[in-house]
Subunit: 393 residues, 2 copies
Amino acid sequence: MENIFAKRMDNVPSSFISEILKLIDDTEIISFAGGLPNKDLFPVKEIRNAANYQLENYGTEILQYSTTEGYLPLREFIAERYNKNKNLNISAENVLITHGSQQALDLIGKVFLNDNDAVAIEEPGYLGAIQCLSIFSKNFVPIKLENDGLNLEELHIAYENFSPKIIYTVPNFQNPTGISYSFEKRNKIVDLLKSYNTFIIEDDPYGELRYEDEEIESFGKLLPEQTILLGSFSKIVAPGFRIGWLIAPDKIMDKFVIAKQAADLHSNYVGQRIIYQYLKDTDLDKHILDIKATYNSQRLTMIESIERYFPKSVEFTKPNGGMFLWVTLPKNISAVNLLNHSIEKKVAFVPGDPFYVKKSDVNTLRLNYSCSDEKTIEEGIKRLAICIKELIK
Amino acid sequence: MENIFAKRMDNVPSSFISEILKLIDDTEIISFAGGLPNKDLFPVKEIRNAANYQLENYGTEILQYSTTEGYLPLREFIAERYNKNKNLNISAENVLITHGSQQALDLIGKVFLNDNDAVAIEEPGYLGAIQCLSIFSKNFVPIKLENDGLNLEELHIAYENFSPKIIYTVPNFQNPTGISYSFEKRNKIVDLLKSYNTFIIEDDPYGELRYEDEEIESFGKLLPEQTILLGSFSKIVAPGFRIGWLIAPDKIMDKFVIAKQAADLHSNYVGQRIIYQYLKDTDLDKHILDIKATYNSQRLTMIESIERYFPKSVEFTKPNGGMFLWVTLPKNISAVNLLNHSIEKKVAFVPGDPFYVKKSDVNTLRLNYSCSDEKTIEEGIKRLAICIKELIK
């Protein structure tokens, strides 16, 4: 039986997080393990109205097959929002609606990667990208992520020695670390990449969830001909529709459309139409302000609780946006070991392991603050601190 | 720029049908070219009620991320329907919800096909399968489709010489021909395949649209350990949700779940829940009877009109189910050439070319009867007959 499968399926990491979530299927557990948006903030009533309006007025149309590229008014909305908010110059023709931005990663792997093509990726990096792209090539070149973005020396060496076809980045409030690239670092990365035949993937699911400071220019602005932008409604409206997008330069757009058509003909049209109606009828910016107010309070509570309860030898990031922060334990402390202890105290998180391509049993871990209220966050961090102190002893 | 793309994207056929549909974006044209279900039969009101019920009672839940495998009660519904209607023995654990059954093809290509692995396929065969699988391997072995199923001699030679990893079939009311495999042929195919390390893909989007005769046993019944069943709600409820499924034996299920998770995390959950609610609240069998009544009248009108108007040298299939019939023109007549003429008379169809892996400028064509009323069908066939007669002269 083994040799019936394609080689690409060998050693694809299965979802570490799903496994953890199964383990801790216990409602008493305080979980900082998930990466979900807070369901209490979903605009349920508005979406119900939008669904009703669309089904009442365009029922037979929205239930039918549709175009591969996606619903044009929705693509126009997305393009205009980038152009207005980020001062880009995107046309709806360059927007492809995908089945969540995870599908965009699959299309990218398909379109670019031969078996052993090099892929540069942040270390630590988004595990969904590692899992998805590893189906197409196992040749990852991890580039250390520092507090202001990629390590330039490692980036330079990676491009000189391995010529990566693509580099995968989450420049704003990265998953898992919460780190954002500085303006200076972005410009230096652009200077380096523009002399290579490569594309930079700018995955930006959290960019609109900024709690402090000013927006920083996008790679899509600084290097438009070599940037593929990924985005999603999952964190700013709701993930259940699986509606995301990919924005690519003209010269590579056709390949993506062919790959998308072959993959699933088109993204679910009912969902596209309902989201479009919702966007038309409501004030998305106002809704995002509400999300940000809640997440920001939870973020501050988590930071304050860590400062109060964790031993000083533990380091952590203080992201100015997004849903996560990243903890570095003293060198000899294993995060997996910590999880085994903390589960007994009914607190969960994701150990750093699945975010590394070539490391395991690491001393880092990811904490999510979007799904727990402030009281729960304080209690969870307090319990986690007890476990850490026991291990440090 | 060229060498930046993966080799798998070379020579992937783009959608012939999309191109035709763009050409004939003219409401005055009588089109037998599409492959769409008839939108007037979509249960819009019932789906609106289902959407309302789900959003009212489970709003925050259905808008959240969900499990890769799909909504368990929906998977149970699908398994039970197979077990009841086709006397199979399927467990919900073996049902994976996909983003339309087209995505199932993508997952199959990903899980099984190395670059040059052989894929056996009906000739003519479903163009969506040809397009999708050609991303993973270009090594197609076409097997002639006869009036009762695959040509056994060609099948035997294909397996002896090329060891196909998978064989793709649409045994009921095939797209494009409308042909169904006989019970005898199915058994002979099973006898042949069971001694090979291969999987048979039984794609069955039209199986429930039977207008005559009795259901014939499925490969899923005759050879369960080597059959992958694909199905979809697109033809029996509505395609706009993109909800289909793949059913596979235990021993290969894990690989599909990993591939699905990497591809898009999970199928759109809102759509799964709305369809589930619809299925719970309504009588699907009764709804399918309504669809069948309409399509059957249209089918009979098309058959009668062809018999009345087409020259006797033109052959055609008389399918007892599905949405298509298949026309064979006299040998020297090109279907593409006929289309050029018929477009002027404002009638469209799909020339056979995209349904062949290794042939072009063929004398065959596909006619769809699900989307035109009886008067329109008669008028369209009449006009097409005039064009054919002009070419035969």
